[in-house]
Amino acid sequence: MSTDPGPAPDGEHAADGADPTFDPAATLRLIREQQDRARAATEPDGRLLYLAWGLSWGVGYLCLYLSAGATGKPPAWAFWVFAGAIVAAVAFTIVHTVTRTAGTRGVSARTGAMYGWSWMLGFLTFGVVIGGLGRAGASDEVIALASNAFACVVVGLLYLGGAAAFQDTRLFVLGVWILVVAAVATFAGLPLTYLVMAALGGGGFLVMGAIEQVLLVRRRARPAPGTVSRPGEAGGA
C-alpha cells in the first residue's frame, strides 16, 4: 500500500509498518488537518461570536454613556443605536451558528437547540418583567438599572449553564465575570453604569475572543505527532 492521495487501493491485505514508503508523520499530519477542517466547518467559531458581542456591547453602551451628558439620561436615538447593536449581534449569532452546524444532528444539535431556546425564553421573560416594573410605577432610573442588571444576570447564568452543558471552563469564567459586572454596574449608578457595561462587559467579550485566538494559534503551532486530538477537547465556545 502506498500513501499516495487519490482513489485508495482496495486491497484488503494486512498493512504493516514495514512498508518503506509509508510515512507515519505525514499521515498524522493528514489526520490533524482533516479534523481541523471538520471542526472549523461544523462548530461555531467562538472568536467571531465574542467579537460580535464585544463590539455590540462596547458600541451600544458607550453610545448611551457618551450621550447621557450632565442629565444622566441618554436621548431616544442613543437607545435606538443600542437596540440596533444588540439586534445585529443576535442576528449574527443565530445565522452563524445555524449555518455552521447545518448538516449535523445528534446530541450536540439537541443540546444547542435547547440552549438557544433558553436565551429566547430568558429575554422574553426579561422584557415582561421590566414592563411589569414600569407598570408598578418604577422610576426611569430604577427601570434603567434593573434592565441592565437583569439582562446581565440572564446572560451570566446562561453562560454558567452553557459551560456545564458544553464542558467549557472558559465560558464558566466568563459567566462569573458577567455576574460581577452586573453587580458593579448597578452600584456604579447612572450614567456610569453604561460605562461599566461597555468597558467591563464589552471588554470582557473582546478579551475572551483574544484568548480563543491565542489558544487556537498555539494549538496549530504544536508539532503534529502525538497531538491527535480526541472529540470533546475541541476548542471554542
Binding site: G11, A41, T42, R105, A109, P225
Partner: protein, 101 residues
C-alpha cells in the same frame, strides 16, 4: 521500524480521511452525507464505496431518514470505529517513536 500492524480498513488514505472526519464529531453526533462529501472533496460515488466498506467492517453507522419529503443519509462512527481510529493513531505514534530511536 518496529513491527506494528496497521488496520487495513483505515490504512487506505481516503477511508482514513472519512474516519478522521467522523472522529472529530462528539460521541452521539452524526454528519449528513452532503456535508461529509464537501469536507472530503470526494465524488458521491467514491464516498459511497468507501462508506460501504467501513459499514461492512462495523466502523460506520449509516442512518437513512427523511427530512420532510427529501431522503437524507447521516453517518457516524460506531464505538468500534472510534476504537479502531484510536488504535490506528496510537500505532502511528509508536512507529514514529520507533523511527526516531
Amino acid at each position: 521500524m518496529p513491527d506494528v500492524d496497521l488496520d487495513p480498513v483505515i490504512h487506505a488514505p481516503a477511508r482514513l480521511r472519512v474516519v478522521a472526519t467522523l472522529a472529530a464529531l462528539s460521541t452521539g453526533d452524526e454528519l449528513s452525507f452532503p456535508t461529509l462529501q464537501k469536507l472530503l472533496a470526494m465524488t458521491a460515488g467514491n464516498l459511497s464505496t468507501h462508506l460501504r466498506k467501513l459499514e461492512d467492517a462495523g466502523y460506520v453507522r449509516v442512518t437513512k431518514t427523511h427530512e420532510g419529503r427529501t431522503p437524507a443519509t447521516y453517518l457516524a462512527l460506531t464505538p468500534r470505529g472510534r476504537a479502531a481510529f484510536e488504535d490506528y493513531t496510537t500505532a502511528l505514534n509508536t512507529l514514529l517513536r520507533g523511527a526516531g530511536a
